[in-house]
Each structure stands twice: as structure tokens, then as C-alpha cells.
Amino acid sequence: MKIAILSGKGGTGKTTLSVNLFSFLNKGTLIDTDVEEPNGHLFLKGELIKEESVLKKYPHVNDDLCTYCGKCGDFCNFNAIIPAKKKVLVFQDLYHDCGGCSLVCPTNAITYQDKEVGKIYYTQVSKNKLFLYGNLTVGEVSGVKIIEALKEKTENEELLIIDSPPGTSCSTVSAIDGADYCIICAEATPFGLSDMKMVVELLRAENQNFGVVVNKSNLGNDEIYHYLEEEHIELLEKIKFDREFARIMAQGELLINHSEYFKEKMANIARKVLGESYDQ
């Protein structure tokens, strides 16, 4: 079973929920797909067993074969390749690795070269627990390649938790792709609700099953609960804000090791989402 945890708004507690739920379970794999600013590894102590480069391809134009017909530039929606007078300009950071320019090139002047866009790291947290995270190289535009690599390496895992990036853009879509269930980690504030609505729209468009965990439930207002009721969305759990939780998290500690309340919340979520089989 693959479970993605996402939020829309940043800072609602995706990683808090992910690392604690993962640590509560007796087996499974967690991937942190927020490759622009990963931080799951700050909470999960373990042995770094492997790191791998993630490559993307970018076009290389053979000037001897190029006739400057302009077809590659007309085709490219991202303006990554621009045929000029005596050379073809390639903007590597705009290139999205679709391969279209070489398909439309009538003289086969375009080949591809590799460029590292980031890395993925494997951490053995315990005997039955593996944690992977990715890191996008500074200056690169898209983390989708790295997210796809993380998903590919873990596609056969029996139980996979996917800590997704915030927002509803390509990275998030890529992170939740293939999930069996999604948990929206929301915040009971107008800002949290507004961003959550976009996530609901995304998940419905993707035909995903999902439920909501309202984090910091004692802050903000009641609007989110009315919304969930109106939209018939399952409220999986409410987790209160507590200054003590913030203090524990700030020290890089897991809440389930310090709070019976929090541990009970993780147990309830695991039971609702995974059934009794994975309960510790």
C-alpha cells in the first residue's frame, strides 16, 4: 500500500506526520519527495547506506548537421532551444527532458547529454525500515526527475509512505502518482483551508482516495470542519497544537517517543488508513 501525505499549504505538518507515522509502524519505507527542501532526515537517525546521482538529459546540437530550419525552437514550449543565425542556443535550466526537439529535427542534428540534477540518499533506519530522500541541485528548475527516481526505486515496497512537497504543481502531482490513498495534512486556518481546497480539486481530478488530518486543530476557526462536512470528506484525526510539541520537534526528536497523546493519534490514523494488519 502506498500512502501519500500532502497539504497544499507549507508548514501544516506533513513531515511531522510522515516521520512519526513511519516511526510508529513496525515496518515500511518512507520517501521524502520535498526535494527542494528535504528535512525528514533531520528526524530519522540511521545509517546512510547509499547515494545515487539523478541525471537529466539536455540537447546538444551538431552544428555540421543543423540547417537552422527552426523546427526545434517552434516545437519547444519551454523556450529551452532557440535557433539563432549561426548557432542554436540551448538553455539547460529550461529544458524539461521531453525529447521533442530531436523528434522534429529533420537532419538528426540533436543528441542528448547527461547532467546531474540532484541526488537521492538511502538510509537504513532499522532492520525493516528504509528511508529515502532526494535533494535538488541549487539552480535546477524542476525536481520531478528526482521524485520519479525515488518512486521508481521504491515501486515494489509493500508499505510506502510518501512525504509530498507543498503546493499542487508538477512536483506534488508526481509525488502522489500511483498512491493508493492520500492524507491531506491541513491546518484550521483560512489560509490552510484555501490551499487545502486546491489539493482536494487536484486529488479529485486524479481520482485519488483521500482523507484529512487537521493539525493544530485548536488554532484558527471552524470553517474547515464545515467544509469537510459539506464535501463529504473523511476527517481522519484532529491533532492539537502544543508548545511542547514544537519544542520536541525543534530538537529533532520524534513526538511519538515523548507524547502518549501523539502516539495514540498515529495509532488511530494507521488503523483507519492501513487496517489492523500494520498496527504495532
Partner: protein, 119 residues
């Protein structure tokens, strides 16, 4: 000789644009016929890489010189590849005013980009 100017509206009396690649229009002044033509800037709507695309539009129109408010690194690289010279105009002027400034040699030539690219 053709000179392109980034413009907010579609004629030579319009105010110049604050942006190069995402301006509404390019006004093309043809020095051989002394005429002005407005070209809608389709690069404005580009999700990314508007600079390169805008330069491609100007290159296809055989523009020799472009008058701009600012230039990003990709736009500058593309202008060089299309052999188009660029000059920087001051803000709050009309297209015609900056054209006069150009002919009076009062606009500085741009050799390095003046802004970083925006996403």
C-alpha cells in the same frame, strides 16, 4: 535598418514598457521607410524562457537594434546570437521619445545583463 522598442501599447506614442521580454508589444521602426509597425509580443505569455523567445521573434523580423528597459542573461545571450544590438532606455518615456534619444546617441549600449532571470 529596423529598431524594435518594448511598448505598453500598439503605437509609437505609447509609453515604453518596464519589461523587455514580457512587454505587451514591440514597436518596429523601419529606418528605410520611416514607418512604425506594432507587433504583439507572444513571448509575454511564455511559462518560461520569455527572453529567448522574444529575441527569436525580433530575429525573425530581421530587427538590427532593440531598445529595452532591462535585459536578463538569456535574452542577452540570444540577442548576441541573433546579432542584435541592445540599448537601454530610461523609464516613463514614449516610444518616439526613446527613439529620438537613441538617434541622439544618448542611450547606453548594453553589454552585460541588467537583471537576473525570473521564473
Amino acid at each position: 535598418m529596423k529598431i524594435a522598442i518594448s511598448s505598453k501599447e500598439n503605437n509609437e506614442l505609447s509609453m515604453v514598457s518596464d519589461r523587455f521580454a514580457r512587454s505587451e508589444y514591440f514597436i518596429i521602426y523601419d529606418h528605410d521607410t520611416l514607418s512604425f509597425t506594432a507587433v504583439e509580443n507572444t513571448a509575454k505569455k511564455a511559462g518560461s524562457g520569455a527572453g529567448g523567445k522574444a529575441v527569436k521573434i525580433l530575429g525573425d523580423l530581421n530587427v538590427d537594434i532593440v531598445l529595452v528597459p532591462e535585459l536578463g542573461p538569456k535574452a542577452l545571450e540570444a540577442l548576441q546570437a541573433f546579432e542584435i544590438e541592445s540599448y537601454q532606455y530610461p523609464k516613463e518615456k514614449t516610444v518616439k521619445e526613446v527613439l529620438y534619444l537613441y538617434f541622439e546617441k544618448k542611450l547606453p549600449k548594453l553589454e552585460v545583463s541588467t537583471s537576473t532571470g525570473r521564473h
